[in-house]
């Protein structure tokens, strides 16, 4: 599997994402001004402060040339993983439902959290068990997931809520404790926790690697069929 990691001006987690993706295959950086995705099998839109988070997080980044290519890639069923700021970008781009609002507590929250895998049948969680808990760090100010009630009901029905914060541990006021959601087709996932920072027990947890390994499994399985 070849993974492309998008680098915007203001990205700051692209190197960790590159390193994490390198553990399950080949990984390259994709510059925001390029439309060429270099034949990758999966794209990661990483965390950071793309374009300074001016206006709203992700609002400007969604118009970058690379995002046009990422949207076309997602429309063809390509795997797209948005982490933190990347999640915000994917929501702004309309590739995922909903939006991220400032944390209820107004503070920047930086700590390890427990997430529950709510849907283990996505390309990103297929290597996880049902209701398995993952220990992954968060670090954000704008992570309160919001979508209109009727949209949330539809997402529940379609299995689009993929990760929730463990009961009683919602760090930002997200509706329904939502930590990560996927598109209706399941090939685009956005989450506020940072799996790319949790790929080695020396850093506290390697649970995040499960997502990258799942993507690898998915790509390999799709190739075996083709």
């Amino acid at each position: 599997m070849k993974t492309g990691i998008v680098r915007f001006p203001g990205s700051c987690d692209e190197v960790d994402a590159l390193e994490a993706a390198s553990r399950v295959g080949e990984a390259v950086l994709l510059w925001h001004a390029d439309r060429d995705l270099q034949g990758v099998d999966a794209v990661v839109v990483p965390g950071g402060f793309s374009y300074g988070d001016y206006l709203r997080p992700g609002a400007i980044a969604r118009f970058s040339p690379v995002m046009e290519a990422v949207a076309a890639f997602a429309a063809e069923g390509g795997l797209v993983l948005g982490i933190c700021n990347g999640f915000q970008v994917l929501c702004e781009a309309g590739l995922l439902p909903g939006a991220l609002l400032p944390n209820t507590g107004l503070r920047f929250v930086c700590r390890q959290v427990e997430c529950v895998v709510v849907n283990e049948r996505t390309p990103f969680t297929r290597g996880c068990g049902a209701a398995e808990r993952l220990s992954v760090p968060i670090k954000h100010t704008t992570g309160r997931y919001h979508a209109p009630e009727v949209v949330l009901e539809g997402m529940e029905a379609h299995g689009q809520i993929v990760l929730r914060y463990a009961p009683g541990r919602n760090p930002n006021g997200s509706e329904r404790d939502i930590a990560g959601v996927c598109s209706e087709q399941g090939n685009v996932l956005g989450l506020m926790p940072h799996p790319e920072h949790a790929v080695d027990v020396l850093r506290g947890s390697d649970d995040g690697l499960r997502l990258f390994a799942s993507m690898r499994e998915h790509v390999d399985a799709a190739r075996a069929v083709a």
């Binding site: 909903g98 939006a99 609002l101 400032p102 944390n103 209820t104 919001h146 979508a147 006021g173």
Partner: protein, 72 residues
């Protein structure tokens, strides 16, 4: 033409910034301020004011979470 766009958090969406300001006012001796909401003002010169609604829908506001008002 000089235009102003006011962007506000949609009604019903929790605005923690507004809440923080609301709590700060009594601490300074200003009683009686309620329902504080904090939004954003965008000022711009536009050649065609007819473009403003589309600018708001596509970039200046996120219609899912924000309302906008164009003030000429």
């Amino acid at each position: 033409m000089r235009a102003r766009v006011l962007v506000r958090p949609k009604a019903g969406i929790l605005d923690p910034q507004g809440k923080a300001v609301e709590r700060a006012l009594p601490a300074l001796g200003f009683e009686g301020a309620t329902n504080v909401r904090v939004g954003r003002l965008v000022e711009l010169d536009v050649a065609d004011p007819g473009d403003l609604p589309a600018m708001c829908e596509k970039l200046l506001a996120n219609p899912l979470i924000e309302d906008y008002e164009i003030v000429a």
